[in-house]
């Protein structure tokens, strides 16, 4: 008979192995799902994981991986710091929106002036916007002990309404024939978040995401603050005894995750998306939560997880277009990834042992 036995210490091997196992399990279960839908499972899996990287049009898709993965990584890095400390910012989507709104506001205010300082100012505004939106649940938690999960999540809906109001009102393109949506920042050179290296898909936001990975790595492994964050999450009592100020950790974690989400929003609106519209946000803030956990809350892990998630998005789209898979099946497939990760995660802390049934 099989029995679960708690490991004396979490297994290091399995900590690294579980994401890989989860991906493999997802491929199998996803394959069965696709087969049940009457599609060829091998072809579907190949389309999702192989075609974007090495298929016929990989030259187009590879840069798109960075475009899609960049914001996910940037947001997930911010979130992971809080998650490490047991502070749950679920509202990155809202911070992303507000960052985009602030960044776009700066650009639209300067339009049509062309100057080198506009883009840096937009970056600053985007970061600040996200920071402020993230600080609302932080301050409420510190001052009144409110639950940051609820407050940050609810603020997403506030931000969405703010976005709709802006797209229909103040930020509406005056030359847009009355339709909602702002001017397209892609057509405004000073505000356009262009590719840093042509043809790579690497815009300033992707570069920032890579810098964030390094920053988070150094912070967590080399810096006192990073140690305090980890300690607060792993042993809150010990953290208190050793003089860690919990309020400071809350403010820092929600602030920095808001800031990074805001930056991601700003880079998106000024680059790939191009304009403030009612449906500007497409769920990066929520998907980043999955990315953070898939990456084991470790900066390098998040980098890989973000790219993997981007791969399933882009591969999933190709599968939709080429094989006629419904989009819901692709979403289910992505959901499985997290499901299996959580399931096999158990192996990190437990081991399966074979026990002989004792005679009664």
């Amino acid at each position: 008979m099989l029995k679960l036995e708690k490991r004396p210490q979490p297994s290091r091997v399995f900590a690294y192995l579980t994401p890989v196992l989860a991906v493999i399990a997802t491929m199998f279960a996803g394959g069965l799902l696709f087969a049940a839908l009457g599609k060829n499972p091998v072809e579907a899996i190949r389309t999702i994981f192989w075609d974007p990287l090495f298929g016929d049009f990989a030259a187009y898709y590879r840069p798109q991986l960075l475009v899609k993965g960049g914001p996910l990584i940037l947001i997930a890095i911010g979130l992971s710091l809080g998650f490490r400390a047991g502070i749950w910012n679920i509202g990155a989507e809202g911070q992303y929106i507000v960052g985009a709104l602030c960044g776009a506001a700066v650009a639209l205010a300067f339009y049509p002036l062309e100057a080198w300082y506009i883009f840096p100012l937009m970056v600053l505004a985007g970061a600040l916007g996200g920071l402020v939106w993230g600080m609302i649940p932080a301050l409420l938690k510190v001052k009144f002990g409110t639950n940051e999960i609820l407050v940050s999540l609810m603020l997403v809906y506030v931000a969405e309404n703010l976005l709709a109001a802006m797209a229909l009102g103040r930020m509406k393109n005056p030359e847009g024939r009355g339709f909602p949506g702002s001017r397209n920042l892609k057509e405004y050179p000073s505000a356009f978040n262009d590719e840093v290296f042509v043809g790579t898909g690497m815009h300033w936001g992707v570069l920032t995401a890579f810098l964030a990975v390094i920053f988070a790595y150094v912070l967590l492994s080399r810096h006192m603050l990073g140690f305090s964050i980890r300690l607060s999450g792993e042993a809150p009592r010990a953290a208190r005894f050793s003089g860690v100020n919990p309020a400071r950790i809350v403010l820092f974690c929600l602030g920095i995750s808001g800031l990074m989400a805001g930056l991601a929003g700003m880079f998106e609106v000024s680059g790939p998306s191009g304009q403030i519209s009612i449906d500007f946000n497409v769920g990066y803030g929520f998907t980043a939560i999955i990315v953070a956990f898939l990456g084991r809350l470790h900066p390098v892990g998040i980098l890989l997880a973000g790219l993997l998630m981007a791969l399933t998005y882009i591969g999933g789209e190709i599968a939709q277009g080429n094989l006629g898979l419904p989009s819901a099946a692709i979403q289910l497939f992505q959901g499985m990834l997290l499901f299996f990760l959580l399931a096999v995660d158990m192996l990190t802390n437990y081991r399966i042992s074979l026990v002989k049934r004792e005679a009664t």
Partner: protein
């Protein structure tokens, strides 16, 4: 057994991968904003896609991608279709406009068709339907049918398209019934059954016994059915499951004739950039069966109006009409020009609420 199944599939995949792709087929792509099962907007575009397949049979291959978000994702989805060899791509939502323009620039040999937008290019056409023609008929029926003299209107976003619909419905409801008032709720969504149901409930509580909707789900009809004695209309799709009441008629988007026409043009090599805005006449806007819940005489009047609009004899925006603030807009017998209609950002006289910013 499952293993053998998978192995068999694997063998098949290899076979498929090596099979030559038939190049003589015309490949047509569709980008949808919602799921094909939304029962409204996207559903009708997909019905038209199926009609294209039925019409051309082996000569076409269609591909589609549903629930495509706006922005960078749309651009990638459209590019992907172009890369995969599509000859003609329909992007079926206003929000895909800039993405379609960008991709059209990169693929000069592929033809693009964008629904409800206004930016055209050498290889990019736009098309839309004169839904306001259908709204006029709805307005007439609503004006005749309401007993509380209150008509509820679930609007989506304050854009010209929606404002035009409200105006058209209101003008004809007032003509049919001078005492009628419109109560308008802005749902700020095209498709959200929960929100739409809430809006319908609020309107019904405020005394509305006719609900008009410019959102795509059947939730308002469900709410009307539950309330009893409230009627409504199918939107974008026939929504026939609510016949004969509360659904007494409907506006149906029928894209099939246009799509077939455009695919044919690509096949013949006669495709040219066009700016199409068709109504009841060419069949792009259909009026669903008017059920027996509507008295015979009202039904006849409605059908007569439909005929008059279809033949071009009557235009729903014919003067005398004033703007909401009382300033004259159209003189007696004057007909609104398309330019004004396309950018409509004002209510006509008699509507009591204001357009939100």
């Amino acid at each position: 057994m499952k293993l053998t199944h998978i192995l068999a599939s694997a063998a098949m995949a290899l076979g498929l991968a090596t099979a030559a792709v038939a190049q003589d087929k015309t490949k047509v792509g569709f980008i949808y904003v919602g799921p094909v099962g939304d029962g409204g907007w996207t559903y009708e575009h997909d019905q038209a896609r199926k009609a294209v397949v039925e019409h051309f049979g082996d000569k076409v291959e269609t591909v589609y991608q549903e629930s495509v978000p706006e922005g960078a994702d749309a651009e990638r989805a459209i590019s992907q279709m172009a890369l995969q060899g599509a000859d003609l791509i329909f992007t079926t939502s206003f929000g895909f406009m800039d993405a379609t323009v960008d991709v059209a620039k990169k693929f000069p040999d592929v033809k693009f068709e964008h629904a409800t937008g206004y930016k055209t290019a050498e290889n990019l056409s736009v098309y839309s339907a004169r839904f306001y023609e259908g709204r006029a008929i709805q307005g007439h029926i609503a004006g005749k049918m309401t007993e509380s003299n209150t008509v509820g209107y679930i609007a989506s976003f304050p854009i010209p398209e929606v404002i035009r619909g409200i105006n058209s419905a209101f003008i004809h409801a007032r003509k049919a019934n001078p005492d009628v008032e419109f109560k308008i709720i802005w749902a700020y969504t095209w498709f959200d059954p929960a929100k739409e149901a809430d809006a319908a409930k609020v309107l019904i509580e405020q005394g509305a016994d006719v609900i008009l909707q410019h959102t795509d789900s059947t939730a308002p009809l469900a709410a009307a059915e539950k309330a009893g004695n409230v009627i409504g209309f199918g939107q974008a799709s026939d929504m026939a499951e609510y016949k004969p009441s509360p659904r007494v008629s409907s506006i149906i988007d029928d894209w099939a004739p246009y799509y077939i026409d455009r695919v044919q043009a690509v096949m013949d090599g006669t495709w040219e950039t066009k700016d199409t805005w068709d109504g009841i006449g060419p069949g792009m806007v259909g009026i669903g069966e008017i059920t027996d819940a509507v008295p015979e005489d009202v039904k006849e009047e409605a059908l007569a109006m439909k005929e008059a609009i279809a033949s071009g004899e009557y235009h729903p925006f014919t003067g005398p009409l004033n703007k909401q603030d009382g300033t004259p807009w159209l003189a007696e017998g004057e007909v609104a020009d398309d330019e004004t209609l396309l950018g409509m950002d004002f209510y006509v006289e008699g509507l009591s609420s204001e357009i939100p910013d």
